[in-house]
């Protein structure tokens, strides 16, 4: 590879820039929801997340106190106070009295509202409304102002989605689905893979061909018959048709072709001498499998486990068909999909929930990337 590297400085510099551009494009989207999930929910809608470290400015509306609050001062009628009734620390940059021009006057200047009435709003929110005549009416003057708030980061969104939006519960449900659905297929596939790799029996070649064929059968082909089957079993035995056991078995079935394919090609590549010397020593196939093949296959078992874990954790289709949508069964992906419908505009909830659903796969991915890549290579470079 080094031979083809551009020799010129510009060429090498270009490569760095090009890769940097790709990396930025590929990471920015995820960064966006991570940053947003930590922002204050009012700020999320007030400014883009890329501005989250700058003060965010927003236009607010308020109403000054009514005529009853007026006092007389220097022969004028005056209403004083602070537009931030709640004492929030925001800096006002401009204000106005018409919705069409909310930032007509600079903060700290006196605006002439006509008839000798003046209004001054200062940066800290304090205002003075003065008039030569007494104020009347019980509705105060409408006032608009642009304020900027300092960046505010919070974990409140996480508290909210975990405990009141039901994401915490769904997290547990996802774990409940994923762990057994990862472990069960490994054992079943490992025995089958060993038999297909090292034992002689009629129909072996056909079985291998069938498994390779099943590798690409779309999941969609299985859904309707299995839904019918589950409903049938449910009615016949008087049990619910949507159960965790049902989805564990379904994921086992859908994961088996790949598991057997991956494990078989690895186990078939183990050195023949080891097997034969063990056989000469009088070991049965079962003993060879348990004592020699299983320990030697650890890397490929780990690869498959990571695949299956990610696949099951990230699955939406199987969960929507074989599990219910009640809080005790809905998994993270299905919950996130439901939130997209019911909380479509609440980005603080969506970004936070999305980040919670992707955090587990990301941890698994980063800590076990080596095995993941190895499995990917072994699993897809067939006939290559």
């Amino acid at each position: 590879m080094a031979a083809s590297t551009g020799k010129s400085f510009v060429g090498r510099f270009g490569v760095h820039i090009a890769v940097l551009v790709f990396v930025v494009i590929w990471t920015i989207p995820t960064l966006g929801i991570l940053v947003s999930s930590l922002r204050d929910k009012d700020q999320i809608i007030a400014s883009g997340w890329w501005n989250s470290f700058a003060s965010s400015s927003q236009t607010e509306a308020g109403r000054l106190p009514a005529a009853s609050a007026q006092t007389q001062k220097d022969g004028k009628y005056v209403i004083e106070g602070n537009v931030f009734g709640d004492g929030a620390k925001r800096a006002i940059s401009a204000f106005g009295t018409k919705a069409a021009a909310p930032t007509q006057y600079k903060a700290g200047t006196a605006a002439d509202l006509g008839d000798g009435v003046t209004l001054q709003v200062n940066a800290d929110g304090s205002f003075v409304l003065a008039s030569p005549k007494a104020f009347e009416g019980d509705r105060g003057q409408r006032v608009y102002f642009a304020s900027s708030a300092p960046p505010k980061f919070t974990t409140a969104n996480y508290d909210a989605v975990l405990f009141s939006e039901g994401i915490g519960r769904s997290f547990m449900n996802s774990l409940t689905v994923t762990i057994p659905a990862t472990i069960i297929p490994i054992l079943i596939a490992a025995f089958a893979a060993y038999a297909l790799a090292w034992m002689r029996f009629p129909g072996r070649a056909l079985l291998i061909a069938v498994i390779i064929g099943l590798l690409v059968v779309p999941l969609q082909m299985s859904l309707i018959p299995l839904l019918k089957l589950y409903n049938g079993v449910g009615t016949f035995f008087g049990v619910p048709s949507k159960t965790y056991l049902g989805i564990w078995l379904a994921h086992t079935g859908f994961g088996l072709p790949f598991a057997i394919y991956l494990l078989r090609s690895y186990i078939a590549g183990l050195p023949r001498e080891i097997m034969e010397s063990a056989r000469i020593d009088g070991a049965s196939d079962f003993e060879i499998f348990v004592k020699i093949v299983l320990p030697l296959s650890f890397p490929v078992l780990a690869s498959f486990a990571i695949f299956q874990f990610l696949w099951v954790w990230n699955d939406l289709l199987v969960a929507m068909v074989f599990l219910g949508t009640a809080p005790d069964q809905i998994v993270l992906t299905a919950k996130l999909n439901a939130l997209l419908g019911s909380r479509g505009g609440n980005w603080e909830i969506l970004t936070t929930s999305a980040f919670i659903t992707i955090i587990v796969p990301l941890i698994v991915f980063f800590s076990l990337q080596r095995y993941f890549v190895r499995g990917l290579l072994a699993g897809s470079v067939k006939g290559g």
């Binding site: 920015i28 883009g48 762990i179 034992m199 309707i224 072709p257 980005w347 999305a354």
Partner: protein, 337 residues
Amino acid sequence: MAAQIFSAIFVIIIGVGGCVAYFWGANKLLDLVFPSRGVSGAAAVDNLRRQGLVRPWLFVGPAMIILTIYLIYPVIETLRLSFLDRGGQNFVGLANYEWAFGDHDFRNSILNNILWLAVVPAACTFLGLIIAVLTDKIWWGTIAKSLIFLPLAISFVGASVIWKFIYEYRGEGQVQIGLLNAIIQYFGGQPQVWISLPFWNNFFLMVILIWIQTGFAMVILSSALRGIPEETLEAAVIDGANPFQIFWKIMVPQIWGTIAVVWTTITILVLKVFDIVLTMTNGQWNSQVLANLMFDWMFRGGGDFGRGATIAIIIMIAVIPIMVWNIRQANKETGGH
């Protein structure tokens, strides 16, 4: 919730324990029925032979049973259901297929699927290849690859939320919080509701899958590129080939097989794409695809199994050429042993 955790742990133990007990027990039973130790020579040989006949089936048995129930039987049953009515009771001949080809949504889905098939595998493979070549040349290439690879771990639903946030639209003149519209507005353009623009919205959905799958293509192709013999590249350099010629005429032809594998793998994935469309548009604004349409018919109005099965069969038909190719390749490989 505690009960749920407890029962999950319980089931893991039962399930795994059951598997272990089955394999160990069945094996032990076989040794008892046909003892090979402690019997006369001829009988031992005889029994060993019998053991050899039975044992493979004990090993592959559970896998075969599960594969039959969860994949083989459903394939046949789906084919049968596609000729039956909505409840799966009465034979209706080809009526479901006739319906499908006259249905607006179905035709729209087929067109969109073709569009997806034309764009996504090509884009992923092309981008993956370019990134693989570029990252091989720089010292921080591994880190770069990790980051580009990362979306592969993210669920389609999660990715949809991530991208929906990027496509978010606010009325004109308001602060755009979606990155895409903010950029457009910054350069003086009109913000748009990207996912509801007919036809073009397909591409905005495809971007999500490309974003996820490019890492996959990159990793596979990167390892194939490393397998290219150094001498061929050196010879090309000596002959005065420029980097583009080396890439197109020396490197690409040598990894053609791997490119085909990556392409077909992503093709199959595209045919099954469901989550992205469901969460982004649910097929509105002419963005429907087959897998989502099938899901829709499975549950629409109590479920129309005939039509759902028909759509599944159409997806299957598209996959069959790849399936045959895979089996042939595998046979060639095992035939070589």
